[in-house]
Symmetry: C2
Subunit: 479 residues, 2 copies
């Protein structure tokens, strides 16, 4: 019995490990296009500042470690075609240039996502980079060592863009961040995004929201020398020596023309070409056992669509931890050849650090909750991350979003000290279908070095109780 | 309508504030025996090292601030008697020495707890202190300034004793900690307690468990000069200049002979004398609306017994955050004169820091779960508090305890980095009745500066899944 896994980052390696544990006799091969497997994309920005010193620190496991578990890993191998009827694969070996056929009994597609290179003029100039793989950070670091740029422009103000802004600032560079939307961190609520923008400015990053990049300007020798941008209704040219594209990633089922991938060109993906159903988010559609519509083909990780457990709608949530969790489910089911485990869905939880500010969300923002049809009640509090008298406390903003009909928590937005803790409390509470009266009495832990007497989650829930009282009084008054 | 609150720390002040918010016309008086109200007991150890610089930083609110909200606060006033039939109180003014009568329509008893002075020889010598109020820390700090002791012995290895050990060490003193039980942190599991003991020793604190204190030795001039102790079957005399009694606290309903209170002498409490039912834990018994058996008398905070939501049994859980939450319920209900809010109970969540180690628990330890009749399945993992490659990570031990019959989480024990976060996830999960399969797929937040890709809560839940598989296979094998 032969299991093939296409893709060797979070979902693929986890799936292979699980499959091996379930069935010691299974023949398992991982095909990985990049030279490394198990690389942490989330760690890449920290290589740019030297916070993480060695690139290899970002490689969690090597092909040799998998070989010890009798899992074959073939790097620099690209699966070019899946034939689901004959259960065969066409594979290209990048090192030798050879193409060959392989076959599978069961297949896991874990092809991940690729960085978008937007189709703007000058995007292929020297000095313009995306950051998605170790090979990208290698290129950026070589460029920085060679040219010692003083200025960089980051296009796109989401996770990668924000984290790169921090890390290049830490390196001593002068950073401008351009974001086309009216706020950075577009998947977060505006209150939180505003705090991020303020914090960036405090740390010396020039932030331009509503900034439309028109072109990257050639210095005449094939190098980028400026970014042409429309901002506040005016065209401007901003000088720079380095551009990082943080314009987002999209689900990727490997196609034959990666280098030409543009966000507006629908990609012809490996899985899609093989007949796999693609969902409304553009990622591969799977059932709750992470099975595709193709026989004996499962899919996991950033290439897969999930379910938002708050709305029940399809969502594309490409994150390393989710990929890992999906890999466990897909690997177990594929190894058994039957549907043992379910992946229930996600809450769209997110977390990042930008300089000294932790920022987090789970569930729906207020706007998203309204769009989803909830009658929304919210409460926000400003708190502090340690007891008031204990040194080193940091302020924290938290906003809870609840369903007015049931009182149930449907979302939280957090910025400041302990953001990582409070978001995990809220994510667990949403998972457990807790309503605000539960949160008020929740027996959370308290000690002065770790937070105020009452967790801001509890404090915000108490404010919610007041909002619900007002609402009830309003109803009574109208009656 | 007149509401009287007896006790002005966490529960009492919160209850009075809530009552004022509910009913602007209510006449409200707080009687407080100590000179200050709203003092943070949890902050007291940090005064001893200077981590918290000013004693007044530990006072959250003053009588003047309450006066602005039209709440009368009478400090250094002790309620000596409650007459529930006539709804009158006998009050003693400590400043004038006068005794007078007062009356109430509704009463909240929030008399808290008192430090135990064990009935051992020499316990009243100069240089022997408890630490429960600001007046205690004032006395200890005066003593330290006057005498500059180099050595101190702490009797009792629970919250206060451990935190004092840290803070006096930080001050440069040589500390020995004596604990009668076989481990410190007796309400925690042995794995966690062992890590605390190791950490204390690493930081230079000499820890003696199973150490029975026989007597405190007089230097001939009324000062303590040594502790006589039986340890490992042998009697020893340990020299010291200062002794802190961290021998625990007990629920307190003020009695007329505080100074003579001994743990083995049943205290005749104010509420008990008035006919209030005392529960099996020795604290005041209340219904879920925090009402006592006396007409129009509620009770809240450390003097009150609660329900352990995991076992359904009575539990005494004297903590500042719980007291605050109870105060909200009692204050609301007393102000309305009817039972509006419920206090559901507690999970026995706990958290403390000892030097660089965070230690936490929620729900039941493995032993407690077994005693409560659960068929227990557990899993422990060692993890790290940041992504492996991100600098500054700290190791973390986590043990999950689940009910074998349902798979539901019933407890967690944690020591190390992010202990405060992981315990709050687990407490919320227990509250939401989550089982281990929920925890495996839980959409917690991940970013490299805040934790490993998979939260150790998720990792431990995955180990639990393996334990349950083994169990199922074991059952099959026996069949």
């Amino acid at each position: 019995m032969r299991l093939v896994v296409i893709g060797g980052v979070a979902a693929g390696t986890k799936a292979a490990s699980r499959a091996r544990r379930v069935d010691p006799d299974l023949e398992i091969t991982i095909y990985q296009e990049e030279p490394e497997i198990s690389q942490s994309e989330c760690g890449l920005p920290y290589l740019l500042s030297g916070t993480v010193e060695h690139r290899d620190d970002l490689i969690a496991r090597t092909p040799e470690e998998f070989a010890e578990k009798d899992v074959e890993v073939l790097t620099r191998h690209r699966v070019e075609k899946i034939d689901p009827d004959n259960k065969t694969l066409t594979v290209k070996n990048y090192t030798t240039g050879e193409e060959f056929e392989d076959s599978y009994d069961r297949l896991i597609v874990a092809t991940g996502a690729k960085a978008i290179r937007p189709s703007i003029e000058g995007v292929d100039l020297d000095g313009v980079f995306t950051l998605h793989f170790l090979s990208d950070s290698d290129r950026i670091l070589s460029f920085i060592e060679e040219r010692s740029p003083k200025k960089a422009i980051i296009i796109g103000g989401n996770y990668i863009g924000l984290e790169v802004a921090e890390n290049l600032t830490e390196r001593g560079m002068e950073i401008s961040l351009l974001e086309a939307e009216e706020q950075v961190a577009v998947t977060y609520g505006p209150e939180v995004a505003e705090k991020v923008e303020e914090h960036l400015e405090e740390k010396g990053v020039a932030v331009f929201t509503g900034a439309l990049v028109k072109a990257l300007v050639d210095d005449g020798e094939g190098r980028v020398r400026a970014v042409r941008v429309m901002h506040s209704g005016e065209d401007a040219e901003m000088e720079t020596e380095l551009v990082i594209l943080g314009t987002g990633i999209r689900p990727e089922v490997p196609d034959v023309a990666l280098a030409e991938m543009k966000p507006e060109v629908p990609e012809v993906s490996l899985a899609e070409a093989a007949g796999a159903e693609i969902g409304p988010t553009g990622a591969i559609q799977v059932d709750k056992h992470l099975k595709t519509n193709l026989p004996d083909v499962w899919a996991a990780g950033d290439c897969v669509e999930s379910v938002n457990l708050v709305t029940g709608e399809a969502i594309w949530a490409p994150l390393g931890d989710t990929a890992n969790q999906m890999g466990r489910v897909a690997g177990t089911n594929a190894a058994h050849g039957e549907d043992i485990l379910e992946f229930p869905g996600v809450l769209d939880t997110g977390l990042f650090k930008i300089f000294d500010l932790g920022v987090a969300k789970t569930g729906l923002s207020e706007d998203a909750a309204q769009e989803a049809g909830f009658e929304v009640v919210t409460a926000s509090v400003e708190s502090v991350s340690k007891a008031g008298y204990y040194p080193g406390g940091q302020s924290t903003f938290i906003k809870l979003i609840v369903d007015g009909a049931t009182g149930r928590l449907v979302g939280a937005q957090i910025a400041g000290g302990n953001a990582d803790k409070y978001v995990d409390i809220c994510a667990t509470a949403i998972w457990g279908k807790l309503a605000y009266p539960d949160l008020i009495n929740l027996d959370l832990a308290y000690a002065p070095p770790f937070g105020p007497t009452l967790s801001p989650v509890i404090a915000a829930a108490s404010v919610l109780a007041g909002e619900f009282e007002k609402k009830t009084e309003g109803v009574r008054a109208r009656e």
